[in-house]
Amino acid sequence: MKQRKDLSDHYMKSKKQKIGDVVVFILLAIGAVAMIFPLIYMVATSFMTKNQILSGTLTLFPDPILIGKYREVLSKGQFISGIFNTVKVEIPVLLFGGFTSSLAAFAFAKMNFRGKNAFFMALLATIMIPFAVVMIPQYVLFTKLGWTNSLLPLIIPGCFGNVSMIFFLRQNLYSIPNELMDAAKLDGCGYFGTYFRVFLPLMKGALGTQLMLWFMGIWNDYLAPTIFLRSEKNWTLQVVIRSFNSYYAIQSDYALIMAASVIAMIPTLLLFFIFQRIIIESIAISGIK
């Protein structure tokens, strides 16, 4: 008798659990739809006619579907130059900044020198200081240097390295045995050779992930470009789409605004979808140190 009750208890529980799983699944699906819905609405709007957009009734399906707004956006010189300017910032910063950051991370993780902790703490403190605190002096500095008529204010500081990248690469290097350092020394590798030929290939994965996150950061950056880029011809993509927003909203050309914003989002979203596992993992690690 008792055994039967236990059995039925067990049966009930697993049934209860199954129902629970279904309920949770449905709730999660509703939540996911709510999260993604505005983005779908954005894409839908970009294909709609002005009349449909301004009808004030709830419609999600463009009728007819117009791709003309995308063509219009891509034929605007300012939009194209915004893309090019962003790329012109990305390439040197990722190349030089990736190099200087990984080299410094190597020194912090694998070499002995006086002042190591002090130097590291000084760099780490900069993560805590908001950009808003230093943006006025930086603006003045870049103006004095004559950089504000070019993209240099966005390029040069990045080339000196990125502190959070140094931090993560250093953590990553700790998991690589120090014996490799001695082995490289015995092989007559200099310190730079040890970095370049032994450790750089070993931190390829971590470096790639960090560069990807940095790429997204630069691509989506808005505050620094708004402040430092004084001439319109240097505007990066985010500044351009924001100016589109103020300009075309007056004309109620929301389809064009949405089309421009969709295009501006595609590169980072594409990267995210391709590498979502790695990106999500590396973000999760930052929370549980």
């Binding site: 983005l39 020194a107 020198f113 805590m128 908001p130 605190v133 603006y139 003045v140 596992r277 549980i288």
Partner: protein
């Protein structure tokens, strides 16, 4: 014998010195960057905060002591933007609660977990400017998605989301929660997966129910993550700017949507009050420093770790 030991020691230190010189060279770039683009600007901001400097007049010729600070602390606009900044932070506990609930749900899923996580995370990696533009459109009074839905469901016209002094704050909180939710979900999910299953099994054998498991195992063991999300959200909360500028342009009706950083930007770059702006920046830095310090002090009290 002794001679030998001495030369050997000498050799080692020669090698160590060589290593040291290389290491200094390797960290030179980030350190020089730190000096030029961080240390110097901070020192400069502190100095300039004591001057009525406009960028055109003399910096040292217009030193006024603490006058900028006194003016800021008696400026109604400053306090208004400070209060608004704090009101926006209502979104932080909401986001943390939703984040934990969704993470716990995802933790139960096997096959669909990754798919859902990716979907919830999309707003986080999306360009802040682009999604601000999108939400300004969603919140549009006449034709926006939200008011069309409200009208379709209830027949009445929804509020003027971005134009009303009260509703603009609600709109901003909705937006920020939507944008940041994926971040807390991922962190909570990682935290939940770090809790050993045996803990739950053992407690279940002792007859604990679901709520007790949640209260006595999940909450305490997840508290380091809660703490991390709290600090980073508070620090981020004091730096809100882009969405306000994109969605309201001028800081909203009667400055009702403006934040501290918006106020700073406004004073420095729209009014050329650079010295004054630097003083706001110093106050901002102090607030953030204080929060970080307080949080780390409070950490021992309510964060329990496994060992």
């Amino acid at each position: 014998m002794m001679q030998k030991a001495v030369t050997k020691k000498h050799q080692i230190s020669e090698m160590a010195k060589r290593e040291e010189r290389w290491a200094w060279l390797f960290i030179a770039a980030p350190f020089v960057g730190f000096l030029f683009f961080m240390a110097y600007p901070i020192g400069f901001a502190i100095f300039a905060s004591f001057s009525r400097w406009t960028g055109v007049n003399s910096l040292t010729g217009n030193l006024v002591g603490f006058k900028n600070y006194a003016d800021i602390l008696t400026d109604a606009k400053f306090w208004k933007s400070m209060v608004t900044t704090l009101i926006y932070m209502i979104g932080i506990p909401i986001g943390m609660f939703l984040g934990l609930a969704i993470a716990m749900g995802l933790n139960r899923m096997k096959h669909t977990r990754r798919f859902f996580t990716t979907v919830y995370y999309v707003p986080v990696v999306s360009s802040l400017v682009a999604v601000s533009i999108l939400w300004a459109w969603v919140f549009n009074y006449d034709y926006g998605l939200l008011n069309s839905m409200i009208k379709a469901l209830t027949g009445i016209h929804g509020p003027n989301w971005l134009g009303d002094e009260f509703w603009v704050k609600v709109a901003m909180i909705i937006f920020m929660t939507w944008k940041g939710l994926g971040g807390s979900i991922i962190l909570y999910l990682a935290g939940l997966q770090n809790i050993p299953r045996d803990y739950y099994e053992a407690a279940k054998i002792d007859g604990a129910n679901g709520w007790q498991l949640f209260k006595n195992i999940t909450i305490p063991l997840i508290s380091p993550v809660t703490f991390y999300i709290l600090i980073t959200s508070l620090i981020g909360g004091f730096q809100v700017f882009v969405e306000v500028q994109v969605m309201t342009g001028n800081g909203g009706t009667n400055y009702s949507a403006a934040t501290i950083v918006f106020y700073l930007f406004d004073k420095a770059f729209n009014n050329s009050q650079l010295g004054y702006g630097c003083a706001v920046a110093v106050i901002l830095a102090l607030i953030i420093f204080l929060i970080t310090a307080l949080n780390f002090k409070g950490q021992d009290k309510w964060v329990s770790t496994m060992d």
